[in-house]
Every structure is written in structure tokens, then in C-alpha cells.
Symmetry: C4
Subunit: 253 residues, 4 copies
């Protein structure tokens, strides 16, 4: 067997597993639909069983091929792979009523995508580079959110005791306003509250504007660092393929 055709077959397998992860998330979403027909419900259950079987086979194959099995079990990717199948086996023994919460753990399969996805890793690196600035922004934003909540509490709590009843109620307004979402469920009606809101937004937009610059410059730096490494593209592209290839080399030698 030529190494090229083997590599292609493994790459196809990888893409197939990624597709299965996404399909399994779609199935998870479909299950939340109200008024599901019993047929649909059963189909979704069988699909769930099918995905768990495939993921279990994948997990044990990886475990088998790994040169250091114990190390694989406790590695980051190994734990993710286990988390993607474990909830299903645990839910069999449990009462059906608590299954709703267990279903949520199936979302950990999304993390499996991180195994294959080079893009997510670059984001991870960008976050590491801009760690300090992000912390800076988060603390500044938190202080502003709090000050905004306290300010509007003193302006509006008497006019609208229902919506602005405490600083905690006002924090919700503060979040909705400073992120410029503005649902319209709570808004100031007094003259003082409106002037305060205008002043807060003036300062707030400046602070909310900061992460843009931080993250984009960090992404640029992350790309530059990639370019400086000796074999950037190849090393990242290899996940399952190279892992298997390496383990085979080890076993054959």
C-alpha cells in the first residue's frame, strides 16, 4: 500500500468524524423542538446511539494506537474524547427525569472540533499574546458596568421601582446599554437618568471599542509568529493522520 493513498484515506476519515460531530449537534438541537412526533424522536435516539458507537470506536482505536496509553487517557484531547461519549453511558443507569441536564454534556463534542481545527488554535495563541490587555479591558469594563448600575439606580429607582429596584436590577440595564444591545425592556425616563445615560455611553463606547484593537493586533502577531517557525503549515495540519503514522512507525520498528 502506498503511503499517499493511506494518508488520503485517513484524511477522509477525519473529515467524516468532523461531519458526524456537527450532525450530532444538529440532532441535539432537533431534540429540543416541542411537539416532536414519536417517529422523529425514535430516529433521533437511534442516530444518537450510532454516533456514540462511532465515537467509542474512535476513542479506543486512538487509545490502542497510542504508544503511551496512560498518557493519552489523561491528555487534554483524550479527556475531551472521553467526555463526548461518557454522558451517554452514564445516562443509561440514571432516571429518565434528569436526562435533560445530561444532554447538555453532549455539547462537549463541540470541543472535539478543536482537535481538528487549526483556526481555533490560532485564536488560542492570540488570546495568550493579548492576555494582559484583555484582563485590562475586562476590569475596566466591569468597573464601568458597576458605576453605570449605581448611577442609574440613584436616578431612576424612584421613578421606576419595578425595573430599577436595586443595583442588581440596574446591572442588567447597564449590560444591555453599554453593549448597545438595547432590547427596550428597561430604559431611563427621568431627565437625570437620560443625561447620565448619555454621559455613560460617551465613556462606555470608548472602552467597548478597545477589544477590537487588542484582539486584531494580537491576531496579526500570532500570524507573524507562525511565519517565523521552521515548518509552520505542515506541523499544524497533522493531527490524526500523523499521529497514526507515527504510532505505526513505532510499532513496525
Amino acid at each position: 500500500m502506498k503511503p499517499d493513498s493511506q494518508s488520503n484515506r485517513l484524511r477522509a476519515l477525519e473529515l467524516g468524524i468532523q461531519a458526524l460531530i456537527i450532525l450530532s449537534l444538529v440532532a441535539f438541537s432537533l431534540e429540543t423542538l416541542p411537539n416532536l412526533s414519536p417517529t422523529m424522536s425514535r430516529t433521533l435516539y437511534f442516530f444518537e446511539v450510532f454516533t456514540v458507537i462511532i465515537f467509542s470506536i474512535e476513542y479506543f482505536t486512538r487509545l490502542w494506537l497510542s504508544p503511551h496509553r496512560l498518557k493519552f487517557v489523561f491528555s487534554f484531547l483524550g479527556i475531551i474524547d472521553l467526555l463526548a461519549i461518557l454522558p451517554f453511558f452514564l445516562s443509561i443507569g440514571l432516571d429518565l427525569r434528569s436526562i435533560r441536564v445530561v444532554r447538555l454534556f453532549r455539547l462537549t463534542r463541540l470541543l472535539k472540533l478543536a482537535r481538528y481545527n487549526k483556526a481555533i488554535r490560532r485564536f488560542h495563541q492570540a488570546i495568550l499574546i493579548a492576555r494582559e490587555e484583555i484582563l485590562l479591558f475586562v476590569s475596566a469594563a466591569t468597573i464601568l458596568l458597576y458605576l453605570g448600575a449605581v448611577g442609574i439606580y440613584y436616578c431612576e429607582s424612584e421613578a421606576q421601582p419595578e425595573e430599577f429596584g436595586s443595583v442588581f436590577h440596574c446591572l442588567w440595564w447597564s449590560v444591555v446599554t453599554l453593549t448597545t444591545v438595547g432590547y427596550g425592556d428597561v430604559y431611563p425616563v427621568t431627565v437625570g437618568g437620560r443625561i447620565f445615560t448619555a454621559a455613560l455611553l460617551f465613556v462606555g463606547l470608548g472602552i467597548v471599542a478597545v477589544p477590537t484593537g487588542i484582539i486584531s493586533s494580537a491576531l496579526v502577531r500570532a500570524r507573524e509568529l507562525e511565519g517565523q517557525q521552521p515548518t509552520p503549515e505542515n506541523q499544524e495540519g497533522e493531527t490524526f493522520v500523523s499521529e497514526v503514522a507515527r504510532s505505526e512507525e513505532t510499532s513496525s520498528s
Copy 2:
């Protein structure tokens, strides 16, 4: 005839066709107005016939002047030109009821503007440069949208079964919130849902902030690349004019 006056005349023709494209889109919009008077309706129909005749003449003139006719028919710009006139001729043979959908195809005329518009081409180049980063952002945003929808589903589906009935209902909330549009048709009311929204927006604004840096830096690079080419300005400005000029040179020689 001097080449300068000929060039000016062709340039005027080009501008005239661009104006006609825009007028044809205005006419298309006017047709959607409810309670149109029969006179208005007839005027718009006659204008439609007029534009199709002009575009047909343009298409066949281009085809005639082209040195490689078959190549022109299957070129990107040739297909766009055909799409701008074809729907009209097709709709003659069809039943009147389905005409509403066919009208939509007339929007392809907007693509004709791309033929003349240097600006759109530079955007296209910027997108090619930042292809990888855009993909990265789109996947990150998609994952965040999905996680947001699942999270709010678990927080709000019991308090508001109508608005947050399934993960798909929640995806709409997720889109409206993370883009900070915030219509106010769906918003969380439980304490858990509000805390989750605040956390999601904190992360989300960072991710939504990324495309700014990506696209603007790509645009800057696209400009630099233009500046490095030998004759940047002239080559892009010439579309119909130079095409005709070249074809005439070919035919006269």
C-alpha cells in the same frame, strides 16, 4: 475621428448604462409599492421593456466586437450581462402568477455594476487576502452563536416557552443579541438568563470586534499591492472603452 473624442464618447456611453442599471433598480422597487395606479404600472412596464432592449443591444454589440465570441459568452461578465436580460424574455412565455419570483432575477443587473466598478474589485481582492482570517472569524462566531442559543435555552425555555421553545428559536435570540441589534422581541427575564447574557456578550463583543481589524488591514494590503503594480490606475479604469478600442485595432489591422 480623433481617438480622444472617441474615448470620451465611449466613456459617456458607459456612464449612461450605469445610470440605466440604477434607474432599472429604482423601477423594480417602485413596482413593489402597494396600490399602484394602472398608469404608473404601465409606465414602469414600458420602462422595463426599454431597459431590456438597451441591455440586449449592449450585450450583442459586446459579443460582435469580441475577438473570441465563445469565450465572451462563457466569461464571468458575459454571463452577468446575459442574466440581466434573460429573465425578461423567459417571463414572456410563462404564466403571470410566477412572474413575482422572476422579477427577483432582475436584481442580477446589480452585478453589472461590478463590471464598471473598480471599488468592488478592490473589496474582492481584500477578501481574497483575508480569506483565512474571515473563515476563522466565521467559524468562531458560529460556535459562539450556537453555544449562546443552547445556554439561553436551558435558562429561559421554562420561563418563556413561547419565545425560547427550542434551540432553533434561541438561535434567533442569539443572532439578535450578539450582533447587538436587540430588537426587543425576545429577551431573557430570569436571573440566570440575564447573567448568562452578560457573560455571552462579554465574550461575544470581543469576537464580533475581530472582523474590523481583519478587513481594514486587508484593505490596506490590497492598496499596497495595487501601488506595486506597474500601471495600476489605467489598467483598471479601462473596461468597455479599451475593450472596444482593442477589438477595433484587431479588426482594422
Copy 3:
């Protein structure tokens, strides 16, 4: 008289006129308040007469001191100064009913600030630098707004014939959504409309993100250009002071 103390006095005069412009705008705003008491109304009228007298004196002093009077009358700043006082004199001869529209012309006094304000001039230069990119952005945004309106028209016009009755109605929705203002007066309710909105916002946020990069980079370049000029700070600071000084030099020589 020493030149320094004269310069200081003229600078104080300049600041006084700027303050008067702002006060005159405040008075203009106060006049729009409903239920104004007759006393307040009369006070505002007398203040208006006072400002017009001061601005008239300023205009004719400038005209007198100018070495080339006719040139001053037709200069940009000369026309602005005239526009700030002319509406008052014109409104005397007119019927009282049309006075409301004439009042609007008093806003041209805001332009008088541009005469003194170095900041506005730098913005002006930044716009000149980024002229091409701004045009590019405006055309791309316009096309997206239009496509958004047409798309939502086909999705929502049947479900909500009142709000999405024609492409022109939908353009309002398109503006409110793509700028992420999201008042909540019009929003899609059908599944198709919501999926279309999500897709539109994905593309739209990218395009709306562009001006940030464009304008900020243009501002940076505008600052650099300032730094390269021989005497940047002084030349811009001199407006009325140096003008008067120069005209005096001319007359005394």
C-alpha cells in the same frame, strides 16, 4: 501698546465670539420648548437681537480690515459669516408664519465654529486622504442595504403587509438592522426572514466594520502630514489674530 498684550486681547475676543455662538445655539434650542412663558420668549428674542448685532459688527470689522474686500465677501469664511446674520434681517420683512423655517438657517452659525476649530480641519484633511475608501464603503453599504431590503421584502411582505409593504418600507428595516440600532418597531417573524436576517448581519457587520479602520488610519496619516510641515502648530493657530495683525501691517506700511 505691546504686541503681546494686543495679541492676548484679540484671543480673548475670539473665545468670546465662540462662546456667543454656542450660547446662541442653546437659545435656539430653548425656543423649541413647548409652553414657553411670554417672559422667557421675550428674553430669548432680545438675546437673539443682541447676538445678531455682535455678529454683524464682527462681519463688518473683518470686511473693513481685509486688504481685498471683494475677495473676503466671496470667500468660504466670509459667506459663512454672512449666512449667520442674514436670516435675521430677512425674517423681519417676512410673514411670521414662515419664521420657523428661517430659524433653521441660524444653525449655519455652527459653521462659524469651523473657522476657529483646528480639530474640525484635521478631520477634513483625514476625509480628503480616505476619500476613495469612504466612497468604496458608502457604495458597498448602499448595495447591501438595498439587497437587504429586497430580500426581506420577499420573506416578510406576506406575513406583515403593514410593516414590509414595499421595498421602500423594507429599506427602513434594512437601515435600522444593519446599523445595529434595532429600535424594535419592525422585525422579521417568519423563519425565512429570520434566517435571511442572520445571513445579512453576518455579511453586514463586516462591511460596517470597515469605516473604523479607514478613518482611524486616515487620522493617523493626517497627523503625520502635519508633523512633516515646517511650522505646523503656529500656522493653524492663527486665524483672527494673525489676520488682523497682517491687515494692520499692510495699512501701517
Copy 4:
């Protein structure tokens, strides 16, 4: 006693005081909750007394250890420390009714965080660097807000005399719209008002986009300046620790 273990103990003390500041703000927020049980109310009061005692001890220790005591009392950080405890002692002598306003002064404790927080100081430096540009942006935004308010007043005041009754009412609309918050409590309904809003947002988004570039570039420059200083990291990290250490050196020598 080794200098290292002493330094570690002082650092732990510092962190403890920071935690106490945050806890004291949480207690302040809890007090605003309506329907507080008497037990809770009393617990919060005792916690308040406790924090004031700790902060008083901290203040007088600092004062005692300071080589120049009068200088410390009138320094920025000395005044902040005093402001954090003074309101409590003042409120003892006062009538209980005015206590609500006095409570607000307790927020000055948030400023105490600035003493320990390096991040806030870097932000401060970034603001100093971009001082001129921020002023430029604020003035441009103010003018646009005002023009937006006047414009919508002429478009909407007749159709909606309640919401758009005067230029001051319209300023609220202007703030909510140009910051893209869009609560939905006031929005234009006339055709003219909607076209004006669209035009205003086109211009406005450009201006709102500016602070992003300004602040992020200023932050980058602030980091560069830090890197150029001889001992950047150490000097900033030392606050209470080094202060105490220095004062001890002074007293021991």
C-alpha cells in the same frame, strides 16, 4: 526575619485589602435590594463597620510610616484613602434620612483599587497620549448629536409632539440612535424622519468608529513607552510593599 518572607506577607495584606474593597462594594449593592430582612440588614451594617475599621487602621498605618506626613495627607492616594472612610464617620452625626446620599460616597472606595491596579494606570497614560484626538472626537460627536436632534425635531415634532416635543427631547433620541443602542422608546415614523435617520447614521457610524482606532493605537504606544523605560515591570509592581520597605529603610538608617 528575612526580607523575602516580609515582602510576601505585605503582598498578602495588599491582596486582602483589595478583596475587602470589592466585598464592601458587594455589600453596598446588597443594601439597595428592596424587602431586606432585618437580620440581613444588621449583618450588612456590621460588615460596613468592620470594613471602615480596617480601612481606618490602614490609613493611619500609612500615615505613621510615611516620612512626610503632611505631604501624604494631601497626596492623591492619601485623599482617596480618607474619602473611603470619612463618609461613615460623617453619617453618624447626621439625620438618618440623608444617609442614602452619603452611601454614594462609599463608592469612592473603588478609587482605592486604582492604587493597586497597574492596568488602570496604563489606561490613564493612554488617555494622556490620545488627549488631543479624544477631544477632537468628543467635539465632532457633540456637534453631530446636536445636528441630529435639530434635524429630527423638524421632521418629527408635528407627527409625535409627545416624544419629539423640543430639541432637548430630540437629544435623547439622538444619543440612543447614534450610539446604536436603540431602546425603541422613541423612533421616527414619518418618511422624512426615516430618510434623515438613515443619512445621520451613515455619517454617525463613521464618527463613532473613530475612538476605536484612537484608543487602541494609544494603548499600543503606552506599552512601547513602558518597554523603553529602564526597569518597567518592577517599578510599577511596587506600591504598598515598596512604600513600607522604603519608609523602614529611612527609619532604620
